[in-house]
Amino acid sequence: MEKIPVLKIGNLLLISIQTDIYDSQGLQLQDDIANLLQRHSFRGVILDISSLSIVDSFMGKIINNIASISLVMGAETVVSGMQPAVAITLVELGLEMPNVKTTLSLEKAIQFFNEKFNRETDQDGSSQE
């Protein structure tokens, strides 16, 4: 089974899920992200699901697990590009994603982290003065 690639970009992990995936690929992805977060210090995880046509409770649980692991390791998880029909379906399914921030697009997710990191360096700068 093909692995879903995890890209390392600075202090971010970027995962773009391109097609509907097998459960085993989802579980593998969860492990891969957990391993990377344990070995290096990343500050954010971006999960782009713009190509995912459905998210059922299994996939939803994987996303939540990734977000919980990230939180413990000091990284924030952003899910980008969730299709409107998928978002509505998740609500009706009753699946909540308490630790997940969502953005409309991958670009917006990257922008979110850039702004967050800039704010933090600004604050660091001023506290040293």
Partner: protein, 134 residues
């Protein structure tokens, strides 16, 4: 009520879930089912089929195009697994005998227009879903 098309697919491995989704997409396209109903039906079906793999090991799914006042898609999922001891509990949000989310059955019910479940211990489980193109 008329059945315009019908096909039965087996459920015995993960790959079958993707075949089932493919057939539902095909039928949904044929009746012009709006995207949101298609996604809801695909999600509900995925939950039900996954339960078969997880709790009953194998089963089959019949997918049909119905024509009544409206056109619709019906999904009938049957297995000869161990069955459900207490269907009322199994239909409650958060109830799971495997420590997972327990959203599959109640979630599927709220995503479709018609939902029926019959289950008998050591005989099997049958779930029927319909989404109408209103």
């Amino acid at each position: 009520m008329e059945v315009l098309k019908s096909k039965t697919l087996k459920i015995s491995e993960e790959k079958d879930l993707l075949n089932i989704r493919g057939l539902i997409r095909e039928y949904a396209g044929e009746i012009g089912l709006p995207e949101i109903y298609k996604v809801k039906l695909l999600t509900a079906t995925s939950e039900i089929a996954r339960n078969v793999l997880k709790y009953a090991v194998s089963g089959r799914m019949t997918i049909r195009i119905l024509s009544d006042i409206y056109k619709g898609i019906e999904v009938i999922c049957e297995d000869n697994g161990k069955g459900i001891a207490d269907v009322d509990s199994a239909m409650k949000k958060g109830f799971s005998t495997s420590g997972s989310l327990g959203l599959g059955l109640p979630g599927a019910k709220s995503l479709v227009h018609v939902f029926h479940i019959d289950s008998k211990l050591s005989v099997g489980t049958r779930v029927r879903l319909i989404v109408w193109r209103k």
